[in-house]
C-alpha cells in the first residue's frame, strides 16, 4: 500500500504545476509599457517628410482647433498592415491622422501606402526613434490622441482592431 501512495506523487506535482500555469495564462499580462507622458504637452519636435508626397510632422501641426491622432508606425511592421483598414475608417469619419514612420526608408513608405492606402495628412520620418522615445512610445504601432492644445490625452498600444475604432472616436470627442 505504501508504494501505491508514492505512485500518485508525480501526478499531484504535475497537477499543481498545471494549475499554476493555467492560472498564470488567464492573468492579464502587463506587457505594454504605458507612456508617462499622458496629460502632458507634446515634446518639441520637427521631423522631415518620410517620403516625397506628404509634408513632414512637427509639434506645430497639432494646434488649431481640433484633436488629432498621432500614429507611430513603420512599413516593416506587420501589425501596421493589420490596422490600415481601421485607420482608413477613422479618416473616413473625418479624423486627421498624423503619422510618424520609425526607422524607415522613403521607397518602403511609398510602397506601403500605395498598397494599403494612405490615411495620413502628413508623415514625419523618425530614423532614430528619437520622437518615439520622447513621447513615451516603446513600440510600433501605437496611436496617441492629441487634443487641440497639443496635450497627449490617450495612448492606444498595439494595432487598432475594428472594435477599437469607437473607443478612439470617443476619446477624440472627449479631447475636443
Amino acid at each position: 500500500m505504501r508504494i501505491r501512495f508514492w505512485l500518485w506523487v508525480p501526478l499531484a506535482l504535475f497537477a499543481f504545476f498545471a494549475g499554476l500555469a493555467a492560472y498564470m495564462l488567464t492573468q492579464e499580462k502587463e506587457q505594454f509599457v504605458a507612456s508617462t507622458m499622458i496629460g502632458q504637452p507634446l515634446p518639441d519636435f520637427a521631423l522631415p517628410p518620410a517620403f516625397g508626397a506628404l509634408p513632414g510632422a512637427s509639434k506645430a501641426d497639432f494646434t488649431g482647433g481640433k484633436p488629432r491622432l498621432l500614429n507611430i508606425w513603420a512599413s516593416w511592421c506587420l501589425p501596421c498592415i493589420a490596422e490600415a483598414p481601421q485607420l482608413d475608417a477613422l479618416k473616413a469619419q473625418g479624423v486627421e491622422i498624423v503619422g510618424i514612420a520609425i526607422r524607415d526608408r522613403p521607397e518602403d513608405v511609398a510602397n506601403f501606402l500605395s498598397r494599403y492606402g494612405n490615411p495620413y495628412s502628413r508623415i514625419g520620418s523618425d530614423t532614430i526613434s528619437e520622437v518615439q522615445l520622447a513621447i513615451g512610445s516603446s513600440g510600433v504601432p501605437e496611436t496617441f490622441v492629441i487634443d487641440a492644445k497639443g496635450l497627449i490625452r490617450y495612448q492606444h498600444i498595439g494595432d487598432i482592431r475594428a472594435d477599437d475604432v469607437p473607443k478612439l472616436l470617443a476619446e477624440l470627442e472627449k479631447a475636443r
Binding site: 502587463e30 506587457q31 508617462t36 526613434s129 498595439g158
Partner: protein, 153 residues
C-alpha cells in the same frame, strides 16, 4: 532479507536526495533570486549591500557622464517619484541606451550608495515585448526572441 534491506537503503538515499534538492532549491531561491526594485523602492527600503538585485527605471535626462577611462559611465535612474539612484557601469552600452530611455540594471548596491551594475538591459523598442523582455537589451531580447522563435529548445 539482506537484499530487501539494501534496496531500502537505496530508496532512502533517493528520498533524501530528492527532498534535499527540493529544500535546497527553496532555500537557494529565497536567497539567490534576483529581486526587482524600482528607484523609489531602492531609496525607501534598500537591499543589503552586495545582494544581487535588478533596478529598473528611466535614465535621467542629462545625467549620463563618461569617466576618463572611456568605458565607465555614471548615470541616475529615476522612477515615478523624484527619487533617483546613482548607477555606475563599466562595459559596452546597449545601443538603445540613451537619456530618457527605460533601463534595467543588474548588479548590487555598494556601501557608498552607488548601484554597481554588472549588466545593463535597455528597452527593446522595435516591437512590443512582454514584461520579461521589457527590460532587456536588444541583443538579449533578440536572443530570447530568436530562441523562442526557433523554438523548443
Amino acid at each position: 532479507m539482506k537484499a530487501k534491506h539494501q534496496r531500502l537503503i537505496l530508496v532512502i538515499i533517493a528520498l533524501i536526495a530528492i527532498v534535499g534538492a527540493g529544500l535546497l532549491a527553496a532555500w537557494g531561491l529565497r536567497n539567490q533570486a534576483n529581486y526587482f526594485y524600482l528607484p523609489e523602492q531602492m531609496v525607501s527600503a534598500p537591499p543589503a549591500v552586495g545582494q544581487a538585485v535588478r533596478l529598473g527605471g528611466m535614465v535621467q535626462k542629462g545625467s549620463i557622464t563618461t569617466a576618463a577611462d572611456g568605458v565607465t559611465v555614471n548615470f541616475m535612474v529615476t522612477g515615478n517619484t523624484a527619487d533617483a539612484v546613482p548607477v555606475r557601469y563599466s562595459g559596452i552600452l546597449p545601443d538603445l541606451f540613451v537619456e530618457g530611455s527605460g533601463v534595467v540594471a543588474e548588479g548590487s548596491l555598494g556601501p557608498d550608495g552607488v548601484f554597481k551594475a554588472t549588466n545593463l538591459l535597455a528597452k527593446h523598442d522595435e516591437n512590443y515585448v512582454p514584461r520579461e523582455l521589457e527590460g532587456m537589451g536588444t541583443e538579449q531580447a533578440a536572443k530570447m526572441a530568436a530562441d523562442t522563435t526557433v523554438g523548443l529548445k
